[in-house]
Symmetry: C2
Subunit: 187 residues, 2 copies
DNA sequence: CTGCTTTTTTATCATTTGTAAAATTTTTAC
DNA sequence: GTAAAAATTTTACAAATGATAAAAAAGCAG
């Protein structure tokens, strides 16, 4: 997915503002297994995924909680770093070799203060992510494990093809054994 | 909590911008039990809580999921209405008589397009909420019911005093019976 | 205070989900 | 192609949580 489409997908920018935003962006490529963010590091850079898929996970008491997947067109940030300039709680790992657009936090901050359209673009981005996470929190609570898996099959079958089931299970809030059990029952 | 403190708590606005924002705000009072938002209605208005406490809940298959509490200093919106101008998924109900600052969605939208400081204030607001919800989603998954209750006791004991336990249980992602059991064990 | 309503607790039982370990399948590296 | 590693499934058992019903406690109106 190309950078113009990604930017405009968040919020339609005037030509001039889009060019200013793009001026701070460079392309990078990393291998599968590379980490864009590591827990407890501060890094407010921002990435847009041109090609590939990544996962964000937190580490807790011996096991990992995958709480987000990003793929073509998605924006990758370490939320707490980006927002509060504090140590992040997430690791973000490439699950496939990826082509990314990279932007330095500083460039973006400067643009937020200089260009009202870009400020509103940043606002829209955060707002849209907020709705997604809130819906996920609610959905998680009012559906059984089986319903959650079925929902994912219906809405994002591609994810099931591209990501290993251990990560999917964690994302759906269950153990890999549970997911395996559910899949066996649905056969 | 007064309106200047609430506004500045999100993001420090220059004097002139704060006055513009405040110009669109009026004070309202509602009784306990009043609904600020009803599910499936579009209402992008925004409220700030001067005094009182409210809860946001979604209705699903016969039972309610409380997913947010707001109290003094907090901002109340129907997220999906506010962001996408679509029907919201939440009911927001006053749990105490409340004094609120109210702002019409239209005034705010106009200001976002006219004043870069207010646009960044709106951005900061969404970003901060985003971090909170994301942390809650992760926390929910990696702690047991007992740990979640203990955490709430430690971080927000006041909430336990002001809100009935049925709502707290739902907020913590368990049934009221479960919460009662946990409380009995901790005695 | 008294009776009524709402909230919280307690008890029992059923179900779901987790843990651990082994078996199987798939992927990777040489 | 084969061996080694990684991922997935299966099994058995244990623990946590949910559903339901009923009792107890707390809150409220007259």
């Amino acid at each position: 997915m190309d950078i113009d489409a990604i930017i405009d997908n968040v919020y339609l920018l005037p030509e001039k503002s889009r060019e200013r935003l793009k001026a701070g962006i460079s392309e990078v490529t990393y291998a599968r297994g590379h980490f864009l963010f590591k827990v407890n590091k501060i890094s407010s850079d921002i990435y847009f995924i041109k090609k590939g898929i990544v996962r964000a996970y937190a580490e807790t008491a011996g096991n990992e909680v995958t709480f987000w997947f990003g793929k073509e067109g998605d924006t990758v940030i370490s939320m707490k770093s980006y927002v509060h300039d504090q140590k992040g709680y997430e690791n973000i790992e490439l699950l496939e070799p990826c082509e990314l657009y990279q932007m330095k936090a500083e460039s973006l901050r400067r643009l937020f203060n200089e260009d009202i359209h870009i400020a509103n673009w940043g606002r829209k981005f955060a707002e849209q992510e907020l709705v997604k996470v809130e819906e996920r929190l609610i959905f998680r609570q009012c559906r059984t494990a089986t319903e959650r898996y079925k929902e994912l099959m219906a809405t994002d079958p591609e994810l099931l093809q591209r990501v290993q089931l251990g990560h999917i299970a964690s994302y759906l809030g269950m153990t890999q054994v549970s997911l395996s059990r559910i899949r066996a029952e649905l056969k």
